[in-house]
């Protein structure tokens, strides 16, 4: 239905963009915020949870099961359930997106910490690092590449999922999809789509660059997302 209608009137009206800049800009900013805040909150939660899961091995399987189960929930359903508690505000969107971010970030924090080789861990202990110091000065810095890999997935998916928030009235680029559809005006949909992609690519590039800056030591060195996936080819 949508495809047929668009096909009849698919022309992009470029003049619409400067004329509506004053609404495009705030929706874009709101979308950006909804894309960034949940992964950041997620990171703040995932770090201690991941550290705990590495320290207490038995903790990880249940945490992993729980986060997989949450990941399977449809986001719209979560919004609807949460409206009863948090109303139609940003929080109703931020909470589910944070939960989704956690599903990606916790395993990455765990894998990142586990990617620190046993000899490195042992050498640190043998040189007189206390546990806390070893964590802060050795293990966490070495986990950065894997954690940032998870952060990239979380940010990009949050930016794209944020548009769904518009369905419950939370401001985001989703506005242009709904409004464009209702008014049968494809230009709006194109603009919303292009800006979503632009935001996602922009954030991803920033994360890639910051990883390079934070981990100069990893340049030219192979970093796998996790020990399980790092060496897919036998006999290197």
């Amino acid at each position: 239905m949508l495809r047929i209608r668009l096909a009849g009137d698919a022309d992009m009206q470029w003049s619409w963009i400067p004329q509506n800049w004053s609404i495009i800009w705030p929706y874009t900013l709101d979308n950006l915020l909804l894309g960034l805040v949940p992964p950041l909150i997620g990171l703040v939660i995932a770090l201690p949870v991941g550290i705990a899961c590495v320290a207490r091995r038995w903790l990880y399987p249940p945490v992993l099961s729980l986060s997989s189960a949450i990941y399977a929930l449809p986001s719209l359903a979560l919004f609807v359930v949460l409206i009863a508690y948090t109303g139609l505000g940003n929080l109703t969107v931020i909470i589910p997106l944070t939960l989704f971010s956690l599903c990606v970030l916790i395993p990455n924090v765990v894998d990142g910490l586990r990617s620190v080789s046993e000899p490195v861990r042992q050498a640190a202990t043998a040189m007189g690092f206390t546990q806390v110091r070893r964590l802060v000065q050795v293990e966490l810095p070495l986990a950065v590449p894997v954690v940032i890999a998870g952060l990239r997935v979380a940010v990009v998916s949050s930016i794209s999922l944020a548009s769904l928030g518009q369905l419950i009235g939370v401001s985001s680029l989703g506005y242009f999809f709904i409004d464009g559809l209702q008014r049968d005006f494809p230009t709006e949909i194109y603009v919303g789509l292009a800006l979503t992609i632009l935001l996602a690519v922009l954030c991803d590039v920033i994360l890639v660059v910051s990883r390079a800056l934070l981990t100069p030591w990893a340049r030219g060195r192979r970093i796998g997302p996790s020990p399980r996936l790092a060496w897919p080819v036998a006999g290197r």
Binding site: A123, A124, A126, G128, F129, V138, W217, A218
Partner: protein, 385 residues
Amino acid sequence: MITFDGVTKRYPDGTVAVDSLNLDIPDGKIMVLVGPSGCGKTTTLRMINRLVEPSAGRVLLDGRDVADANPSRLRRGIGYVIQQTGLFPHRTVEDNIATVPMLTGRKKADARARARELMELVGLDPPTMARRYPHQLSGGQQQRVGVARALAADPPVLLMDEPFSAVDPIVRAALQDELIGLQARLHKTVVLVTHDVEEAIKVGDLVAVFRPGGRLAQVDSPERLLGAPADDYVRDFVGFDRGIRRLSFFRAVSLDLATDSVLPAATTLADAITVGKRAGEPWLLVVGGDRKPLGWAAVADLESGPPDATLAGADLAPVGHTFRPEADSLRAALDATLLSRTERAVGVDDGGQVLGTTSYERLRDAIRAAEEAADRAADPVGGGR
């Protein structure tokens, strides 16, 4: 001094890694713990810096039980080198080496200056290497960084767990030589674990041989280990050619070299034949005016030449292998002799000038005398064991 006093390590599943170990490790010496895998040598090492806690007994460092020390503080005073290096991938070479000084509160610039000193000590060029990351180094260079890092805080004790096992044989030999050289300057108390008995014999002042089950089989000097293995286990472990290898510990200076068969090139053939017959030597070594060896003349061949010609014009067999009695061992002298076509090797001084020549008879006498002297030294009372 590190003392193991009745130390046992038993794991919860019942495995005994180390069984009632009593061992004294004297200050300033390299003590090598050697044995097959699973004999408890690494566990023993790790009990010194409390990476492993004993189930029974005490480990004393300078008379104090390590169990009473704060583990982190204890470890900062004990260098630790492992096979896989355990270098921090996210820190540059200089910052890896500066780790312990930084932990103990030294200023960054101070610690880095110290790191560069140590780089020079272990043969790494600070300007080119200091800012590199470990993965940009070869295996041998990484191991050097590992040693420098362990030495950074100038700890009196250095623990090394298979430090050279992951590098190729040529680099390994070089690193072993460097360790011996370093130790001659630094006089640390070194405890080195290896499964390689050759390495143990080469670098150790003392060698502790472990048998499976975490028991000590023998603690002795390398030379004694080769000369007087305590039992069949040690004999088998040390290897089949221990008689030859033991010769590495006897200096070739004790060898009585033949000098009457060394003749200048200006000697006439007639004189040379007379000398050869009088000395009973079938081969004469011909030397130049600078006393450097030119080659061997066979007395039997000289008789066919004109008697008034000189050795300078005679057909000479190649000099073959030389050795330096002042620096080399009897093993090197024997080896050079075996490899020479004339069954004689040439002993030279540091300038390459001939000191004399060997023969099997002369070697046999020197070896016998050296072994008797060593046995007397090890067993001064003269009683049997």
